[in-house]
Amino acid sequence: MSIKEKEQEIISEFEMFEDWLDKYNYIIELGKSVPEINPEYKEKQYLIKGCQSQVWLHAKMENGKVFFTADSDALITKGIVSLLIRVLSGQKPDDIINAELDFIEKIGLKEHLSPTRSNGLVNMIKQIKLYALAFKSKQ
């Protein structure tokens, strides 16, 4: 599936929720069920610090596609991280670099990407794109 298709899939899933409670319960569930990042990647060099919560991000390239794993110390951040990974992991570097990721806004989670939240997510997206750029230039 392309990035756009995956975004659309998530938007459809979120349309089923009646209110914010359902939505956040789902995000919290996602946060709990994300496969753990390999502990060796929960190190400083993979850490993206926010003031409020922080994110660990690891990337590798296989067969022309970039694969990400990530984690966060806060559950809600982790749930949103898992959505970002679902959309972006396994895609080609160029597609990742050009992704607009407006699904976040469409599912009503834009507030979590505001710089004032400082939860690590904004910098995580930047970092994801930097990884993609780096892998692209190595190709």
Binding site: L21, Y24, N25, I28, Q52, A74
Partner: protein, 406 residues
């Protein structure tokens, strides 16, 4: 004077709104308080009918604005019980006031190997300006430690202070722990060694009766926006002697007597420290805020807030796995806590959805979080317009939040 919280609430238009279909519960008062109508109207009136630059024109409006501005200075002097009105310098806020002192004082009085004492519970605004001053001069920053309850260890302070110490800068009330520090004693010890003391009053001025002559501090800083006044306005109180001795901070209009390209003579106090057109509307709004505090009565405010704090702590104690951050005997109206295994960010996010506005995170006091080895806390801070009912709503919301995150 009798105190009726329902009447007080009516003065604050912002409180009457819904967030996510819930009544707003505003418990982020340590970050900034809401503004009563009298403050909003004062600013509105100034710009509607009185706006003019001060100290400059001889025309009617300019004179009226100047008189109003100087009357606000006298009001502030009385509020702090300062000896002279020229000991009141208007600034942009506490941060600006501390930077003024750190910069001007260090230019004249700090040199290599001197020492500046702060405490381990300072807001970044009372750390970074001193770090900059130390970097510029080669002086050293010394830190008074605290105990696990979040109280400064005075014996350690006495050990740190020496003939190398040139200034002590300590917060009156901690914004992350709520601790009220024994500033009078801290100042007495410093003065025995002829060392001046700056008190960061950002969190004390809204809650306690401040008498700068009684506590005998050399500098006192506060922010109007944390005491029902507008943002962008604050106060530096300085003893005449010290304000005379330290050099000006910024150059520009208003702070000079005569300017030629060879030499400039500086204006007298307090204008020496008020370069450029000041925030006149802000200062007049602040005056209205002081009137609000005076009319409500600072004792009534303090009693009401203490009652709310005691009730909140009693209710919070019923939660399992709660850990209070800051258990000082002397506390002002805020409570900071964490739950085992629940991140403060998650708590804050869900509470926000439930209409509860409070602060999660490190509260600009990262060294405090490092000391307790936590990423941040959930902080509820109370003000004169908050109610017991709101605390009940908050506690219920916390139960719900915990269920969701469990």
């Amino acid at each position: 004077m009798s105190f009726n919280v329902n009447l007080v609430r009516k003065e604050f238009p912002v409180l009457d709104q819904k967030i996510n279909k819930n009544d707003l519960v505003y418990f982020d008062n340590a970050a900034t308080t809401q503004k009563p109508k009298s403050v909003i109207n004062r600013i509105n009136d100034y710009y509607s009918f009185e706006n003019s630059n001060i100290h400059r024109g001889a025309h009617y409006l300019s004179q009226k604005a100047t008189e109003a501005y100087e009357a606000a200075r006298v009001k502030t002097q009385k509020f702090l019980n300062a000896k002279h009105s020229h000991e009141i310098v208007f600034t942009r806020g506490t941060t600006d006031a501390i930077n003024l002192v750190a910069s001007s004082f260090s230019k004249k009085y700090l040199k290599k190997n001197d020492e500046v004492i702060i405490s381990s519970m300072e807001h970044h605004s009372n750390i970074v300006p001193w770090q900059i001053a130390c970097e510029d001069t080669g002086a050293k920053l010394m830190v008074v430690p605290m105990n696990n309850n979040g109280e400064l260890i005075i014996e350690e302070y006495q050990k740190i202070i020496s003939e190398k110490t040139k200034i002590v800068a300590i917060t009156h009330v901690s914004n992350s722990l709520g601790t009220i520090n024994p500033v009078k004693e801290i100042i007495r010890i410093a003065h025995k060694n002829d060392i001046p003391v700056l008190i960061d009053g950002a969190q004390s001025a809204p809650h306690l009766k401040i008498d700068v002559q009684d506590i005998d501090c050399d500098f006192f800083c506060m922010s109007a926006h944390k005491m029902y006044g507008p943002m962008g306005t604050g106060v530096l109180y300085g003893k005449e002697e010290w304000l005379e001795k330290i050099p000006p901070y910024q150059g520009g209009g208003e702070m000079i007597k005569e300017v030629s390209f060879d030499k400039t003579t500086y204006n007298e106090l307090p204008y020496k420290f008020e370069a450029g057109t000041p925030n006149v509307a802000g200062v007049l709004g602040f005056e209205a805020a002081i009137n609000f505090i005076d009319q409500t009565g600072i004792e009534n405010i303090a009693n009401h807030e203490n009652m709310l704090l005691d009730y909140a702590i009693k209710e919070l104690k019923n939660f399992s796995n709660i850990k209070f951050i800051g258990l000082a005997k002397d506390r002002a109206s805020l409570v900071s806590f964490v739950f085992d295994n629940i991140h403060p960010y998650d708590v804050g996010t869900i509470l926000d959805k439930l209409g509860i506005a409070l602060r999660t995170g490190h509260h600009c006091a990262q060294p405090v979080m490092d000391f307790f080895n936590i990423p941040g806390t959930v902080r509820a801070s109370f003000s004169v317009y908050n109610t017991i009912d709101e605390i009940d709503v908050f506690i219920n919301a916390l139960h719900k939040t915990r269920e969701m995150l469990a």
